[in-house]
């Protein structure tokens, strides 16, 4: 009986993400209850419309994903899959897959067309009411499927982003307002180190917090899914940051899992924190320059929740809450004269005379393992255009990609895919050498480790000049001694170098400070920001972007939020009217016992 109920509930869930329209059935691939070896990739929703399933097998085909569908009408159904060839060119598409419908493999190979679009999988006779649909990966090289549409008509669903979005809502019968509304005293969007620190700090002070994160594991770039180790100092927040930071393992080490367990355990131990994992914000609305709600969607089931609160913290990295609510933001490098940020030794590599769109690149970390037996790695002709003759059996932080025709948010998928090609191609080249025959790929991230994109604007824009001047602010809440560390692509100085490797410039400094006024929006009255989207210039981000420093920012705004709650005021009022109490709180919380 319990089992029947469970199946019924599961199907109801499925039906909620199966749309009926145009005499058709739309199923979002990421909602398959059994994902097999496929992973959910929610990173590029704003660009291509939806999370999708990806066969991230590092060259070994992954286990099938499957679901069961219920059809009301028997008959002939055309089937389309929304997919793409992620490396179009004069070779077999790297990410190919097939659909299996009720045990019958449809002959059309999918994953072959340039750009996200509907590919025709075939036509089937549906005789049973319930059938099993499976995704069969053929290559292990990042085939991707967003959705599958069954229709008795031969009309292809729309492709253009706006039309597709509207069609999806219609077919899935989505109401404009998310059906579930939750209200908190503080909503933190983004569960990286900054977001976790903010949630903990606020929760400790009695604030009821929602912490929303689009992955199953907290930590962002420090999570065991991306595995960048945390750097920087603790400042006044050692107690909190030690709950969520990492050891100094090599970037990409599987030892990240120990700190992952620690982080999850600690954040979940707070009763005042309601944790929403695998939930991604897709919109925020502001009224009269005040955020009134953030709308979210579960990345697999599509279940939507609207979060309301008097206060919000944008810890999304990309500054999404700020962006959607109309906060001022910047992107790219300012001119050297704008904030007087020159370092003559490095000239244009450090700071340009004329402003431009360059930002530091994103990385994808990866690791190999030496086995007892020789390991075969498939040929990857589609990767060699990027890797060229570069060889590698290990990656590191300087596998980093930035290019001035690519935007770190709008072209994120292409950036991630470019680095995957760099990795697979370089590894393939290395494998041609007999001494590397026993190497195999142990782990390759499929999530981008971003360094820089949008920066929201606060009452103070933190700059490199604040570092060189060692400015002590009345509201200094973050401190750091680590070098200012700004990267450039190696191929700027020598165009024959690979375009996916970077170099770092280090400016040594004594202790510098970041003011509270760089941690709330200038024009949206109830919005804090913490993390790499804080208020800074491009060079201002160079130092504080490491994660103990961003963690300090998170803790600082979490404590500020608690005072905002106490006095019923907005973030700016803490600086203007309650600064002494705020600074005293930051001091005293260092010795708190739980």
């Amino acid at each position: 009986m319990a089992k029947t109920s469970l199946i019924l509930i599961t199907h109801l869930f499925l039906l909620s993400f199966i749309g009926l329209g145009q005499s058709g059935l739309l199923i979002e691939a990421e909602s398959f209850p059994d994902k097999g070896g496929w992973v959910v990739d929610p990173q590029f929703v704003e660009q291509m419309g939806s999370p999708y399933l990806m066969a991230h097998g590092m060259g070994k085909p992954v286990a099938k994903a499957s679901t069961e569908l219920k059809f009301d009408q028997k008959g002939s159904y055309h089937i389309w899959a929304r997919t793409k060839n992620w490396v179009p060119g004069n070779w077999d598409a790297p990410g190919r897959f097939q659909l299996v419908v009720d045990g019958q493999k449809l002959p059309n190979i999918l994953g072959k067309t340039t750009a996200w679009g509907w590919e025709y999988a075939g036509i089937v006779e549906i005789n049973n009411k319930k059938i099993v649909i499976e995704l069969l990966d053929l290559t292990g090289f990042n085939g991707r499927c967003d959705a599958i549409f069954f229709s008795q008509s031969d009309q292809v669903p729309p492709s253009s982003p706006d039309e597709l979005a509207e069609w999806r809502k219609t077919v899935l019968q989505e109401v404009p307002v998310p059906p579930t509304i939750k209200t908190y005293e503080l909503v933190v969007v983004g569960g990286g180190i900054a977001g976790c620190a903010a949630a903990i700090a606020a929760a400790e002070e009695g604030v009821k917090v929602a912490l929303i994160h689009d992955r199953p594991l907290l930590g962002g770039n420090a999570s065991s899914e991306i595995r960048v180790h945390t750097l920087g100092i603790y400042g006044k927040y050692e107690r909190i940051l030690k709950m969520i930071d990492t050891e100094h393992y090599p970037n990409g080490s599987p030892d990240a899992k120990y700190d992952q367990q620690k982080r999850g355990r600690n954040v979940k131990s707070y009763e005042n924190i309601d944790l929403y994992l695998n939930v991604r914000a897709y919109d925020a609305e502001a009224n009269n320059f005040t955020v009134i709600h953030v709308d979210t969607r579960q990345t697999s089931t599509g279940e939507r929740i609207r979060f309301k609160a008097p206060l919000f913290i944008d810890a999304t990295g990309d500054g999404w809450i700020g962006y959607w609510s109309g906060a001022e933001y910047s992107y790219g490098r300012e001119s050297v004269d704008q904030y007087d940020e020159a370092w003559d030794e490095w000239g244009e590599l450090w700071s340009p005379e004329e402003a431009d769109d360059f930002v530091m690149g994103s990385s994808v970390l990866w690791r190999t393992q030496v086995e007892a037996e020789p390991q075969v790695f498939p040929d990857v002709p589609w990767a060699l255009e990027v890797a060229k003759d570069h060889e590698a059996v290990a990656g590191e932080w300087y596998w980093e990609f930035s290019r001035n025709d690519l935007h770190q948010i709008e072209d994120g998928e292409e950036i991630r895919d470019h680095i995957l090609r760099a990795i697979y191609g370089s590894f393939s080249n290395a494998k041609q050498r007999p001494e590397n025959k026993n190497y195999r790929l142990q782990w390759v991230s499929y999530l981008l480790g971003k360094r820089e994109s949008r920066r929201l604007v606060g009452d103070h824009i933190f700059t490199f000049k604040d570092v060189t001047d060692l400015t002590k602010f009345p509201d200094s809440v973050v401190q750091e001694i680590r070098e200012i560390d700004v990267h450039f692509q190696q191929n700027l100085e020598d165009e024959n170098k690979p375009d996916f490797l970077s170099k770092a410039l280090f400016y040594e400094t004594e202790k510098y400070y970041i003011p509270y006024r760089s941690l709330y929006s200038k024009n949206i009255s109830n919005l804090f920001m913490a993390g790499r989207c804080f208020s800074c210039s491009h060079l201002g981000l160079g130092g504080p972007r490491v994660m103990r420093t961003t963690g300090q920012m998170g803790a600082a705004v979490g404590f500020a939020a608690s005072l905002c709650k106490k006095y019923g005021v907005n973030p700016r009022d803490i600086y203007e009217k309650h600064l002494a109490e705020y600074m005293a709180l930051i001091e005293s919380q260092q010795w708190k016992n739980r």
Partner: protein
């Protein structure tokens, strides 16, 4: 090195003259006492003067520029700089040719290298270019470079030192002397992390420092690297700024050195950019992406509108690096309308976003598409091997 063997000869001559003087009878000595001294002085002045003019006075062991050393005829002391670790100040000279054109900065460094209060001297001659960038070094006769156990450098060691000094980004830059013997540093086997390789750890590792320096001469390498790349560079740049002239602008612009070219470009105003634009175009074609970017950003709008400039820049679109291509497309708003047509030939060399930018410019252009432009777009849209033909098709449909 020839000058030192001649100096030895000079010393011998002086010693002989002194001996001659001493061997004279006492009463004659006092009468003629001044003569040997006068002769010695005249002789030394002639020799010193002679060798100042001798172009083979400088013979660095390594030199990464061209023939500048052979042209040296003059030297001028220009400033001293202080090494804060040793509190020794060193004299820097400006070496010039017979036309008074400055060529190189130079210093003869005599500095102690110390570990735990045990010091030994190091003698070395350093050459920098006019921007304070290290370009070579020489050793002093009778004072070879040695390791700390007193073994002399071998040929490979001398080469390695030059390689190290040529690296402005060396790991040594971020390290203090005390870091070089960091007892807490991970031992070698942990750096390879349990049999799974990592391609270096973040920041420095003992392995990385070790591989960049001469074995057994870590402290010498550290000391001299920091001297060569320390605050002396700022002083050299300040001195260059004080002597910079339009003559130097021209020399730099036509020099075969990218850093000289970039320096000249940075000092130039709009008028000079106009005057020198044929050479600037030549530089643009051959330069690295950083310099190309700088040129494109700096060229004033008025120059872009000139047909010849636009032709020369856009003609090489398919040969330049991808970032330069993007900038060329962005500058279409300033460029002569001919550029739009020229780029239509290179559609298939564009990335997706470059193509989108270009098509946006075409859509917004006040000038109608030329027949040749349309033809090129149509041809590319029919090419089965062209990945982004779907974007071209959308654009061409809207045109109709």
């Amino acid at each position: 090195m020839a000058v030192f063997s001649h100096r030895l000869s000079l010393v011998k001559i002086c010693v002989n003259l002194c001996n001659l003087w001493l061997s004279m009878e006492k009463n004659i000595r006092y009468t003629y006492r001044l003569i040997p001294l006068i002769v010695t002085n005249i002789f030394s002045c002639v020799l010193v003067g002679f060798f100042s003019l001798n172009p083979s006075f400088h013979k660095p062991l390594f030199f990464s520029m061209k023939n500048e050393v052979k042209e040296i005829t003059q030297r001028e002391k220009v400033f001293r700089f202080l090494n804060l670790d040793t509190l020794i100040s060193h004299q820097v000279e400006l070496l010039s040719n017979e036309h008074d054109e400055p060529l190189l900065f130079y210093a003869y460094i005599n500095t102690p290298v110390c570990i735990d209060d045990i010091c030994k001297p190091m003698h070395i001659e350093i050459y920098w270019n006019l921007l304070g960038t290290y370009v070579g070094y020489g050793v002093v006769e009778g004072q070879p470079l040695t390791k700390f156990d007193h073994d002399e450098f071998e040929t490979a060691d001398y080469e390695k030192l030059h390689h190290l000094l040529s690296n402005e980004h060396s790991i040594l830059k971020r390290k203090k002397m005390s870091d070089l013997f960091d007892k807490n540093a991970l031992p070698e086997k942990e750096i390879t992390y349990k049999g799974i390789e990592v391609d270096g750890l973040t920041g420095a590792t003992k392995k990385e420092i070790k591989s960049s320096v001469v074995e057994g001469a870590l402290y010498s390498c550290y000391t001299i690297w920091h001297l060569v790349h320390g605050e002396v560079k700022t002083k050299m740049l300040d001195h260059l700024a004080s002597i910079y002239s339009s003559a130097l602008t021209e020399r730099f612009l036509y020099a075969e050195y990218a850093d000289y070219q970039l320096y000249a470009l940075k000092q130039m105003g709009k008028d000079e950019l106009s005057r020198y634009f044929p050479q600037i175009i030549t530089i643009f074609h051959e330069a690295n992406p950083l310099i190309r970017t700088y040129i494109l950003k700096k060229l004033p709008e008025a120059l872009w509108r000139q047909q010849t400039l636009s032709q020369q820049l856009y003609h090489s679109f398919s040969e330049v690096d991808i970032n330069t291509k993007t900038l060329l497309i962005k500058k279409l708003s300033f460029a002569h309308p001919l550029a739009l047509e020229m780029l239509s030939i290179h559609i298939e060399d564009m990335s997706r976003n470059q193509l989108k930018m270009y098509l946006t410019f075409l859509s917004n252009s006040e000038v109608a598409l030329t027949p040749l432009t349309k033809e090129n777009l149509q041809r590319a849209s029919r090419s089965e091997t062209y990945t982004y033909r779907y974007l071209l098709n959308d654009f061409l449909e809207k045109l109709e």
